[in-house]
């Protein structure tokens, strides 16, 4: 009898083309997502006289370098060149491109699922570290570098060494005001920014199963902030309901066959993971980061920690450095920290559920600092407008912008100023991430909305009725 297998193991085994030395396998790739940062890989491919092996499995969009202000796609000739190059390469190779002016255009990790390209049981890669987002559907999805992008374009495969497996179980019910972002920040703070290195994570437990697909994507998205290239969640009725009828999802007879396959994917009882971690959902509070690593996260009710209280000298030094960069004093209540700007968006938190959560907080209030809403895709923007969310944000003084990565990474020039403190729904609070000298606090859309209307880090649970 076969030993019980994990979902990861099943997907991995299905995609092995050949065994190589040293435990490496040649792994087949079902989906390759591309963005305008991929230009260098296309150029190298062209120089070597090679072609894209499977243009029908490759899909492209522009997100990193486009401006999100209406009317002006790029800020300068350099970035315009990158976007144009992507259009040219995809046209030459016959790759479907959701480009400038296409309402389906958006953040690559938002539109893959939205179009039904991301489905359970597949391998999916993209030249972007947040590719684990797609694992929310029970796919094996991971970020790759530029050389690996070129390798996939040319061969539709990658040489990979099998990672170890880790299951993170979150059991119980989340308290009101607590959501997926708080869960993943709590997980990262528990296992550390390097805790998932060389692991594929499976998120499990009743709190995860109770989440919508948008929420599950938020959790899987930040696997890389815990060091893991891949994070995944077993597909279930929530997954199937989300996917059915999406433009590029299987349909008709193919849907039925796919469904049968997907239902057999979840990890079997008794399957063994290399590492198990358990969290109680009831113990997770609205969470914010105070430092310059995503692991520097605490409940909003806490105070800025004191490096002097830490025994390990290396840790003490890096904490002190983080606090100096962040301009924070130990012992300050997090709710006393004043913010200068709010960013709601990114592949972590720019989907409809996120915008709704923010709008519920904003309705009837006013932003007291500059605050941006950057929807994840043109279609999400449109759907939000149909629901009237844009009016709620505009009436509150928020900027309602076009889809893109924007201030999460600032590659398009949309950055915060030196010393500015940003309440952000993005995924990284690294030094300089949102602009040279910019100070980032990561949090959920509801918490970022609360910060926008108070001008401070705020426990959304204490806001009361508007």
């Amino acid at each position: 009898m076969l030993a019980p297998r994990t979902m990861f193991e099943k997907i991995w085994a299905r995609h092995v083309v050949a065994e190589g030395p040293g435990g490496h396998v040649l792994l087949y790739i079902d989906r390759h997502l591309l963005h305008e940062g991929t230009t260098a890989a296309f150029n190298r491919l062209a120089r070597s006289g090679r072609r894209v092996r499977r243009p029908d499995l490759s899909f492209a969009t522009a997100d990193h370098y486009l401006l999100t202000s209406p009317g002006s796609p790029t800020s300068d000739a350099e970035t315009r060149g990158m976007v144009e190059a992507l259009g040219r390469h995809t046209a030459e190779q016959g790759i479907l491109y959701f480009g400038v002016g296409d309402p389906r255009r958006g953040i690559v990790h938002v539109i893959g699922p939205e179009q039904g390209l991301t489905v359970p049981g597949l391998t999916l890669v993209c030249g972007d570290s947040h590719t684990a987002t797609h694992g929310a559907f029970g796919a094996l999805a991971f970020g790759i570098g530029s050389s690996e992008v070129e390798h996939v374009l040319a061969t539709q495969t990658l040489w990979q060494k099998k990672p170890q497996t880790m299951r993170i179980s979150v059991e119980g019910r989340l308290a009101p005001g607590v959501n997926a972002k708080d869960v993943i920040l709590a997980i990262i703070s528990r296992i550390g920014a390097g805790g998932g290195v060389r692991h594929a994570i499976e998120y499990a437990g009743s709190a995860i199963r109770a989440m919508s697909m948008d929420e599950r994507m938020t959790v899987c998205n930040m696997s890389i902030e815990a060091g893991a290239r891949a994070g995944m969640i077993a597909p279930d009725e929530t997954t199937f309901t989300y996917l059915q009828g999406r433009p590029l999802a299987p349909s008709g007879d193919a849907w039925q066959k796919a469904l049968a396959h997907w239902k057999a994917l979840p990890t079997e009882p008794g399957a063994v993971f290399d590492r198990e971690v358990a969290l109680a959902a009831s113990e997770i509070a609205p969470t914010v980061t105070w430092g310059t690593s995503p692991q520097d996260a605490l409940p909003i009710t806490a105070r800025v920690p004191d490096p002097a209280a830490v025994a390990d000298a290396g840790r003490r030094e890096s904490m002190a450095r983080a606090l100096a960069y962040m301009g924070l004093d130990p012992g300050t209540a997090l709710t006393d920290v004043v913010v200068n700007r709010v960013f709601i968006g990114s592949c972590t938190n720019s989907r409809l559920d996120d915008l709704r959560a923010a709008a519920r907080v904003v309705r009837g209030r006013r932003a007291v600092v500059p605050a941006w809403i950057v929807p994840g895709s043109g279609l999400i923007k449109r759907a939000a407008e149909v629901e009237g969310l844009d009016r709620i944000f505009r009436d509150a003084g928020f900027e309602w912008r076009e889809a893109g990565c924007s201030m999460c990474v600032g590659m398009n020039g949309e950055t915060a100023a030196t010393g500015e403190r940003v309440a952000s729904t993005s995924n990284r609070n690294f030094e300089g991430r949102q602009g040279k000298g910019a100070r980032t606090h990561l949090m959920s859309p509801a918490m970022a909305a609360a910060a926008a209307v108070t001008g401070r880090l705020t426990d959304v649970r204490t806001l009361g009725p508007a």
Binding site: S146, W255, G410, G432, K436
Partner: protein
């Protein structure tokens, strides 16, 4: 790709854990082609230079003995964060051919292999010992020998490291990985035929262009 066999060079100790690739090369430089003459200056740019472009003397790479360093000796989780391969390109542009750490960001780790840069994982105590020696004797050299899988510390102590047989061979020969894989074309075709039978739904409908 330039092969990696054996390198004796000055080591650059970086004590900070979780050095992310945004720090190694800030996002605003990613639009720049690797051929631009100032490319090497993007490495650690925002902690290495002041706003007026002058060097920060306290940053270790700006100190005389370390200017010729070619081996990074880091702490845990170096190269975490973004998948940007430019983090490796910009290290290579500054002459670095090896990164020693107790752990590395997974994507950075892979990207090193693709660019003739040898990533070496050693136990945390061993790496801390190497950094200590490099601080005590600025400009001290290490030897990284891929064939023998050893790092020789400034004090002469050898540290054996593990490396995958596959990656080792690729680095030693400098072989083109895509060329190698294209040699598996028959196997890939065979896989695709089986995949199309067993998981026909895995190919998306020809999209509405």
């Amino acid at each position: 790709m330039e092969p990696f066999t054996r390198l004796t060079a000055v080591g650059l100790p970086i004590d900070l854990p979780n050095v992310d690739t945004d720090r190694v090369i800030p996002a605003r430089f990613l639009r720049k082609d690797r051929s631009v003459p100032e490319y090497a200056s993007f490495l650690f740019h925002d902690v290495r230079f002041n706003a007026d472009g002058s060097e920060r003397p306290e940053f270790i790479l700006n100190q005389a003995p370390y200017r010729i360093a070619r081996i990074v000796v880091a702490a845990e989780n170096f190269g975490c964060g973004s998948s940007r391969e430019a983090a490796v390109w910009v290290l290579a542009a500054n002459g670095f051919r090896s990164v020693i750490a107790s752990s590395l960001g997974d994507i950075f780790h892979q990207n090193c292999f693709k660019n003739g840069v040898l990533p070496v994982i050693l136990p945390a105590e061993a790496v801390a010992g190497l950094r200590r020696q490099l601080h005590e004797r600025p400009g001290a050299t290490l030897t990284v020998d891929l064939e023998a899988q050893t790092v020789t510390a400034p004090d002469g102590a050898p540290h054996r490291f593990e490396v995958d047989a596959f990656r080792k061979e690729m680095l030693l020969t400098g072989r083109d990985e895509i060329g190698l894989t294209l040699g598996f074309d028959a196997r890939i075709l065979e896989f695709e035929a089986r995949h199309a039978r067993e998981m026909a739904w895995a190919v998306p409908p020809r999209a509405g262009t």
